[in-house]
Assembly symmetry: C2
Homo-oligomer: 365 residues x 2
């Protein structure tokens, strides 16, 4: 087990799976089912025709062929959704459409192509056999069948299945709320005019986008200055979240207050110095059930740290069975080598380093 | 070019790229930029320190070493975001933090680890050289640099870059609205009690989920009965959408009115019978700029048809350069073989066939 895997495992040990909530099935897309879904009725609920044609007793067609066709009396019609009341006797047929209910007495459907419809009678020359061209009751799902399981991720196919089982709402795991705070006197936000030495708090927005992409809910606390009391005040507003992430203020310099802030708030620090290249310096702890991540100010280092340490925790909270860095992540290919290439000084505090140099972003389409 | 590719290409020829709209950068996640993004200022906007330490003229440290250190007078401090007014002369130093503005006269920063801070003086024993430990103005982006291009898909890294360029809002391609209608007298919706021969309109919800997953906006028209006039009335409410999809009513049976409905509305039919196995029968046309897809009622066949024919069109509308079946699609592995396995009668009209049999859905986590 690598150092990275060891830290990831320890973070996941501190990570709870969140409770469940009811969402409508279109809102469940991408979420994880928190309970098994069983069929509460047979699907189809009754024998129906799989083709357009004529419902008959297959015995009436014993020995039938093109050369030796059988003529039936048409006693009724069974379009989809409008069952025919009549019962089919020997030598009788009901005109039936795909999805139409098989009438009593019939046990097979002769395809339209194998018949000649004469209005009140029909000539048939092929024997579908018993059950031929019929979709039997319970063929798709039998009442009690386990159709989907707790832990399944809902995609369009699952939405379709849930609908076919008449589940308008389903239980899924709740989404974590992730509070994000950037620190640094040099940081400015969109509404503040740029001035020499001030830099945009781009990490705040990059992290929020990562939270959204992971399927969780960002809560942007904003920018805190290099002051422990002000950081503490802002962070306290984020403690109702499931996860808190700070960016910046983690070096050992005179104006790096985040460790002091965490300590003064009573955060139970589990790692004080995650010693991995891209994540360094980083802090992980917890307070009253809220996970707390302290990352550096450098956008690249912080966004990679998010993928490595926070995202697996968020996925676990949302009920994913095998939490880990998702293979579809745009960051999975961004390793510490790439960080070195793009970020330069990976320990830069609240730096302006863009996540990649202009022109380096190929292969994104 | 296969028959599938030929039809996909012809559909794409009829598909416009939609116009642009402004969205805030967190709302741009997963969207496609409709214009190039250039840096409007240098980033960093001024030379800043990459480390905590002391800003000096590197010439003052000529020949310095551990054995032969140089003592500087500290004339000020430059924390991040609070530039120091003083100019650094020979033998003078400014205490500086990561992100702090390099004072006038200084051209290098000695790392804190290579100094001994005595309060009013500092002993330094390593020469950073000219530019050492400095992040130069424009190092990340120079004003005018092309940072992102029209056609780029916005992910978290792009959000971070846009924020660093102070772009709170960006232009992206609009999302198409996709109207969906299911047809069939045998179909019922959640609020209708199930009765023999009635089946849930699961395809309506499955298609809506696919539209959402593709990043577009579903508009659920509902269930139309097997009546051309009622289908026409419902469909006319969907013509303000960019795309209309119908499910069911496409066979040649007595109660299959969708072709008649399309004809009576004046839909310009471009394919009357897409002859591919999973998509059969299917119809494609256009009316007043709205693309119209007629698919069978069978959920599997319709959902596969969506992936093959509709999704590439939606992606093109949203500005994707290389439209096609996205590799992350849960359907890309679902081919006509799989359809045969799971769906049985792929031409089933408005059937109850689930998209897959219970227990067959492994490897989803």
């Amino acid at each position: 087990m690598s150092e990275l895997e060891r830290i990831q495992a320890l973070i996941l040990e501190s990570t709870p799976v969140l409770g469940r909530e009811m969402v409508h099935i279109l809102g469940s897309l991408g979420r994880v089912l928190s309970g098994d879904i069983a069929a509460t009725e047979d699907v189809p609920s009754i024998d129906i025709s799989a083709v357009d044609g004529f419902a008959v007793s297959h015995l009436s067609l014993d020995g039938a062929s093109k050369e030796n066709p059988v003529v039936f009396t048409i006693i009724g019609e069974s379009p989809a959704g409008r069952p025919c009341g009549a019962a089919v006797g020997y030598g009788e047929a009901v005109r039936i459409m795909t999805g139409g209910v098989i009438p009593e007495g019939a046990d097979g459907v002769v395809k339209k192509e194998d018949t000649e419809d004469r209005g009140t009678t029909v000539v048939c020359w092929s024997n579908p056999g018993r059950g031929g061209n019929i979709r039997l009751r319970g063929e798709a799902f039998t009442r009690g069948d386990l159709v989907l399981s707790a832990g399944d991720i809902v995609g369009p196919v699952e939405v379709c299945e849930l609908a076919s089982l008449r589940r308008a709402y389903v239980h899924v795991y709740q989404k974590p709320v992730v509070a994000i705070m950037s620190t640094g006197d040099e940081l400015s936000d969109f509404h503040e005019s740029s001035s020499p030495g001030k830099t945009m708090c781009s990490t705040l927005y990059g992290l929020a986008a990562q939270v959204l992409e992971a399927g969780a809910v960002p809560l942007l606390l904003g920018i805190a200055p290099d002051s422990s009391s002000e950081q503490r005040e802002m962070l306290s507003e984020g403690l109702r979240a499931d996860v808190v992430i700070t960016s910046g203020g983690l070096s050992r310099g005179k104006y790096d207050f985040v460790r002091e802030t965490f300590d003064s708030m009573g955060v139970d620090i589990k790692f004080r110095n995650i010693a991995l290249k891209p994540g360094k310096p980083a802090v992980f702890g917890a307070i009253n059930g809220t996970l707390v991540f302290g990352f550096p100010g450098n956008p690249s280092a912080t966004m990679i740290s998010f993928e490595q340490f926070v995202k697996p925790a968020l996925l676990k909270m949302m009920g994913r069975r095998a939490a880990g860095v998702a293979p579809e992540s745009p960051f999975s290919a961004m390793d510490s080598f790439r960080l070195d290439v793009v970020g330069g000084n990976s320990h830069l505090r609240a730096s302006l380093v863009p996540c990649r140099k202009p022109g380096a972003g190929d292969g994104k389409h």
